[in-house]
Symmetry: C2
Subunit: 481 residues, 2 copies
């Protein structure tokens, strides 16, 4: 075709273009506060700017960066804006981005200990650190019977936990024999949708997932759990798995772990605890009450990629008995056999997850913890919670708004007293303005606004501005209707 | 605690440290060729260099980069070395690393179209491009009945395909009712272990996975598949899913898609085709024969993160009928409802995968395709295949070695004529030398060396050196035994 010996980007070119990308991101960090938070493009608008066919010949890198500005940026909802209050946060930070960059540059595969010992050992080590940092039960430590692993998301963690529970409950026969329609799983009506997805995936069947009723604070009613288990046993079914949530998605409800945990212990059920967002609060001793009862859990996860300044994906997942998990997920084909695995002295993380391959995700987590230090992380978590509580206090003092639920941490659920239509109109108005972004839930059948304070750059000032925006949206809405 | 208002890395600091990391990677690219390819640390060696507890207070970023050199690098097996020939490659490139960096910097969540339209639309668009670039069936296009999505790995793609097959075969009732032990899946004895893992996960049961016999080229025997299906139907079971592989892991065998495909069509079975590594070869028209018969496939995947210069994770997965996949994996909780989703005019990729959250992975793929252009990619793929074929020719001419199988593309399977012990000794000797890295498989019960040519920087020179190393290892081994 031509004389050129290589089309690769040379190290010198990489350095030059890399500096430009780094500076682009630094600049993005500076200006993200001023960008409209939500993208309001029409479907197809981004694709209409892209050529129908890929280029036959290579293009200069600066053209791509220009197209990021021209084509991509208008189609971005700025999750990193300090005025992003929707869903759960997906925050990040400088050290995390640089850890991800280094991981991409090293390009190692961590599927086995042997394929890069540092990738596995750093992960095990940092997850042991986090057991201490969050005050988790010590049996989750790798030096005890347990151990931690990084998953892509809490969805995958829940699936792995369910699979191990399924195997344990069937005497480790469900992998071999398949499901038989008798296993039953339990969650609350407020549990994240990923648990229903996991139940479907695992062949247990949605009809064998019991959604247990909640109390006025949207927290699981343990007595309802106990009586449902009894009914299922009486019906000849096999209860095997309970999910309790520490900080539900809709309202940040904290399921009562001590009572649920004792039920699971007595009934010999696998208890998985999902602390995807709220778990991070346990960096601060004063919030560790949310984990009371976690000593009963067989598995637990929280997501540094939500609220601990570590970019997606980074879900930390622990089990109390690693043997159950490994036995469930291990397959050793000949082409992956190696001395280290056969010695039994190492962890092969491909046996702790669904996929085989894995990135070196521990690097970014290590960088984040070292950059902030435990005290630095605590400082920002406390700031977020204080700002959210301040917002809640404004709601309580307001004649027009009310809290849907007393907020334990950094998620405020509230509504306008005039009802759903008004509340929804306020949300649309503030989101359309570009000044901030909130999302909604339905609690007790009523449309409810969710304001979650957890983005890296969010301060009390941004929360104050959000309150002002909500108040003026309500005023404008009254004027126009 | 103290007076400081923020512990975040400022944009200026990010810029400064980011330049250092970029230069570290550029330097790594320059010197990776000279580093010992495999890490030979003892278990625990990395952890022994790490402090037992995390720091209470933040540390300077340059200290972390120093520790990457001191603690991490000795524990790295250099997958990016041009002399890495083990497993399947996991290559990367400058534009890919910068795409990953930008994705981390933007920090968007692509779970819904509405959570960042550009993230979804670029992915759909680039996967449509790739249909043309690889000459895939046009029904995989998003404008037809199909569409593509980026998964983390071929393991997850196989799981999603199996789940959709399970649902379709049960009239979309297995999600609701669970599995009943009657569904059967088919693969060959050479199929990747992820398929067995998926069958276990999906509750179908390993005993209902039939491993079909292969011919002398380790390619599935379609007549054996057909008769097994007939036996299973006669036994009252429900065949539902067949995996065919284009380039098996052990030996790069190419299953005969046209015959397998016709069987699947006649029997109404979901055909999933796994082209994880070899699929990339189809960038070049002269290698597209490996995809003959792909028009029968219900789903297909290949991994740009193996051989297309895109860093892990990036598996491209297509389905011919997106409705079957979406119906299988979709759950819409209230807190994710939005106008765009309800309009039906957009793709929400969380319904195409197991997890809910997702990174902006299309950016790196877009950068790679634009940087190289189609012709640039073809150039390097042809170079790799030519170098591998040259190696195979040396084997054929050698009095001491023999090919285990005729190599269709870039994976050479060979052994020493003296037998397993000698072959294994050669592998250990070359791997211990640090000069290169190979892995093994067992084919026809015999220990076989695998040399896979696919790393970004690998040229004919490195393949020549690998051959020299193998020859001298054999010579030394003869001298010492």
């Amino acid at each position: 075709m031509d004389e050129k010996r290589s089309f690769h980007m040379s190290p010198d070119e990489f350095s030059r273009h890399g500096h430009a990308v780094i500076d682009w991101i630094a600049d993005y960090m500076r200006r993200v506060e001023d960008l409209p938070v939500m993208s309001h493009l029409e479907p197809g608008a981004v694709r209409s700017l892209l050529p129908d066919s890929p280029p036959q010949h290579g293009e200069p890198f600066p053209d791509m960066l220009k197209d990021v500005n021209r084509v991509i940026l208008p189609g971005i909802t700025h999750w990193q804006s300090p005025s992003f209050f929707a869903y759960f946060p997906a925050n990040t930070s400088g050290p995390s981005i640089l850890g991800e960059l280094l991981s991409a540059g090293l390009g190692v595969q961590g599927m086995l200990w042997a394929t890069s010992p540092a990738c596995t050992e750093l992960e095990t080590h940092v997850l042991d650190w986090l057991v201490g940092m969050l005050g988790l039960p010590t049996r989750f430590m790798s030096g005890a019977s347990g151990g931690g692993v990084i998953q892509d998301s809490a969805s995958s963690a829940a699936l792995c936990a369910l699979l191990a529970a399924r195997e344990r409950a069937t005497g480790f026969r469900s992998n071999e024999q398949g499901c038989d329609g008798r296993l039953v799983a339990y969650a609350s009506t407020q549990t994240h949708s990923s648990v229903e997805k996991a139940v479907r995936i695992a062949g247990i069947g949605r009809r064998n997932l019991r959604l247990i009723d909640v109390d006025g604070q949207f927290q699981m009613r343990p007595e309802a759990l106990a009586s449902q288990i009894a009914r299922d046993r009486a019906g000849g079914l096999s209860p095997c798995f309970v999910v309790a949530t520490v900080g539900t998605t809709a309202s940040n409800g904290i399921d009562p772990l001590p009572t649920i945990g004792r039920i699971c212990r007595d009934e010999d059920l696998w208890l998985h605890v999902d602390g995807a967002m709220a778990g991070t609060a346990c960096l601060c001793p004063e919030f560790r009450w949310i984990h009371d009862g976690l000593e009963y859990a067989d598995s637990y996860c929280f997501n540094p990629h939500k609220w601990m300044f570590t970019n997606f994906d980074c879900d930390c997942f622990w089990v109390a008995d690693r043997t159950a998990l490994i036995t469930t997920l291990s397959i050793l084909p000949e082409y992956l056999r190696n001395k280290a695995t056969e010695s039994g002295a190492v962890i092969d993380y491909r046996d702790w997850q669904v996929p085989l391959g894995r990135r070196f995700r521990a690097l970014k987590l290590w960088f984040v913890i070292r950059h902030y230090g435990v005290e630095g992380l605590r400082f920002h978590i406390r700031e977020h919670i204080a700002a959210a509580q301040e917002f809640a206090a404004w709601i309580e003092k307001s004649p027009d708004f009310e809290l849907a639920v007393k907020p334990p941490l950094n998620l405020i659920c509230f509504r306008h007293k005039r009802g759903d239509e008004m509340t929804r109109a306020i949300m649309n108005r503030v989101n359309d303005s570009g000044a901030l972004c909130m999302s909604h839930a339905v609690l007790d059948g009523r449309f409810t606004l969710r304001l979650c304070v957890g983005q890296t750059l969010t301060t009390r000032l941004h929360v104050r501005r959000a309150w002002d925006a909500v108040v003026s949206a309500a005023r404008e809405e009254r004027t126009h209707t």
